[in-house]
Symmetry: C2
Subunit: 352 residues, 2 copies
DNA sequence: TATTTGCACTCTCGCGGTGAGAGTGCTAGC
DNA sequence: GCTAGCACTCTCACCGCGAGAGTGCAAATA
């Protein structure tokens, strides 16, 4: 990293803010004029040349203004930016919306994503709350035909799994029900490991054993964040960003659009991201090509884990062009994490 | 409708097919050359003029070829097109994919949508199977704080609803559990109306009454298709269609893209559509501006209800530019409905 | 009368040229 | 070390133009 004099910092900061605002390469004189710098545009140009050496900014072509690089944004986020907290009005509005759906837990995720999308005019993504470890709440078995049954499983975090059971011998609904009754009592609140132990320690009929092992397998798979759904909201907002609808040659633009859409459609990307995130480390910013995903070269992510360590939680965040209002995005994501945490605490009875 | 001589039909059919293939206004001579017509291009031009009178086709500008209008597509779909069934290989491949996830009901919806999207290179949408009338399977109540509890409801169709209960007086978990036990026995398999009746006929404690009425309300709401989720798959495919990425002036194109995206993002649109569909009438085609939705002026839908009348079902279909391979789309949608119906029949034990 | 041939006409689209404007880098002077 | 001045470069929007595609119509033909 090149040495960053206070003046360089001042200029870089102004440049990034201006570019985030206008989406247009920034000229030296614009900086002087709009940001009241106490030195001339020629001096600014010297410094800009320096910043360009350090790969913090670049010129799209000779005699265009400067644009921040990913590295430039990174420096901005780490050292220059300040988080712009939500206004009290905004906070009130958000709280009010959650108040209206307070009883319907299913709505929380959608509302959170939708709030983020609207506040930031970008796409928001979010996984529903999941327990870190699958625990059984209750299950039912329904006879379908002589040799098949239908197993419905409710987990402690509210997830439901449905599964078909293929039976070895014909079994009546009655027998299934009594087996279910007995196992429900034994296995309630138990995790995959505990279920397995209990299965070994008890003398069970073949049906009970089949049901039990199936349950254990499902609980095990549940911990795996892959293959899980996530909500997207505000994808259109992305299309309205100038880099996807106005700026630059048409061909590049539609390529950009395609890439973002592809990423957003991959069901894998958020869960995969989860494993890359440093453990519960507050709001995290991933800028453009910093991650290994090729398709994400021109987008940035602001994400955070929400929930309660070791109990239940998920991921939420926004995705947009690298030219993103980081200060505000971080504030919004942080605030929504907090809201979700409080709601979860209330409904599951954790202490904050 | 203008009189449609066999020759007009022949020409219209060729024109629509050619346009669906090339996405380019079709010239009279192209028709003669590629479709082996037994008369000259001048004759074709006469007929084209006639078809244009009838608003079945139009010219983007003088001296361009012709393009079908929505009305033209409609005539094509109703009278000229033939459904192109899936090849045996394709059928086998699909069956095989479902075979692999046969036990995981959660995967069916996603797989169905994904198959349709891939087969047709367009966006696919699908609602998860829902019972026509909500019926209770089982519920649990968990004490959270002294004055609040957490209600988890499993419906017969596998839906789960979670809801917070605010209690009037402090109640212990034990009392909640016994209330739940009693009510579970009373209300199992019951619909909203039946639940209400049972609540009146039995002498219940205040808690039991609170739980019961909450359950009734939730069951009632469940019938309402609005506010329900639906899956989207293959949205990127739409962007690859020439009308959204290559053809015509850039400005119109991005406007088109924005519109489609907006429609696809509206959570309301599929459920709202459901109510407009003629009852269980096989595969239905909605072309461009035929419906009242303004934003859907340039897209077509091929949708169908799936499931079993009066028991359980949902909606599935594809959405793409009006220039859509209707024959194939209809075949695919029809086939997938059939697959879903069979799967549902197997797992819920209906007779076909 | 129905069709075809021949042809003039119209409109789009892609191309190269061009000039204004923006913004730079450099140099000389303060 | 900073600034004013200036020549230089590159983009971008605009224009004009010619080729080509496809039509509509009139006259010729079966």
């Amino acid at each position: 990293m090149i040495p960053m004099s206070p003046r360089k910092q001042q200029i870089l900061r102004a440049l990034v803010e201006e570019y985030i605002h206008t989406a247009t390469p920034v000229a030296s004189e614009t900086l002087v004029r709009k940001y009241g710098l106490s030195f001339s545009s020629a001096t600014v140009r010297h410094e800009l040349a320096g910043l360009e050496e350090g790969h913090l900014i670049y010129q799209p072509h000779t005699s265009a203004g400067r644009v921040p690089t990913d590295l430039g944004y990174r420096y901005f986020v780490e050292h220059l930016m300040q988080e712009s907290a939500l206004s009290l009005d905004e906070q009130r509005l958000i709280r009010h919306q959650f108040y209206q759906v307070q009883d319907q837990l299913d709505q929380w995720v959608r509302l959170t994503a939708s709030v983020m999308a609207r506040l930031l005019h970008s796409a928001a993504v979010m996984t529903p709350p999941r327990a870190d470890e699958g625990r059984l709440k209750h299950f039912e078995v329904l006879s379908v035909t002589e040799l098949s049954a239908h197993l419905v499983l409710v987990l402690m975090d509210g997830t439901v799994k449905q599964q078909r059971l293929l039976l070895e011998d014909p079994i009546e609904q009655e027998e299934l029900s009594s087996a279910a009754d007995r196992l429900n009592k034994l296995l309630q609140q138990k995790s995959a490991g505990e279920v397995k132990k209990i299965l070994e320690q008890n003398d069970l009929s073949p049906v009970e054993h089949l049901i039990g092992t199936t349950i254990a397998r499902i609980l095990e798979q549940h911990g795996d964040p892959l293959g899980d759904v996530f909500y997207r909201e505000g994808v259109v907002n992305i299309l309205e960003q100038p880099e996807y609808s106005r700026m630059g040659p048409e061909e590049e633009r539609s390529e950009r659009v395609r890439k973002v859409m592809e990423v957003l459609e991959q069901n894998r990307f958020l869960p995969a991201l989860a494993s890359h995130l440093r453990e519960s480390d507050g709001v995290q910013v991933i800028i453009g090509g910093e991650n290994e995903w090729d398709d994400m070269k021109d987008v940035s992510l602001v994400v955070a884990r929400y929930g309660h360590e070791g109990k239940i939680g998920g991921l939420l965040g926004v995705i947009g062009p690298t030219r993103m209002q980081y200060g505000r995005a971080i504030a919004v994501v942080r605030y929504m994490t907090q809201v979700m945490n409080e709601l979860l605490a209330e409904v599951y009875g954790f202490d904050e």
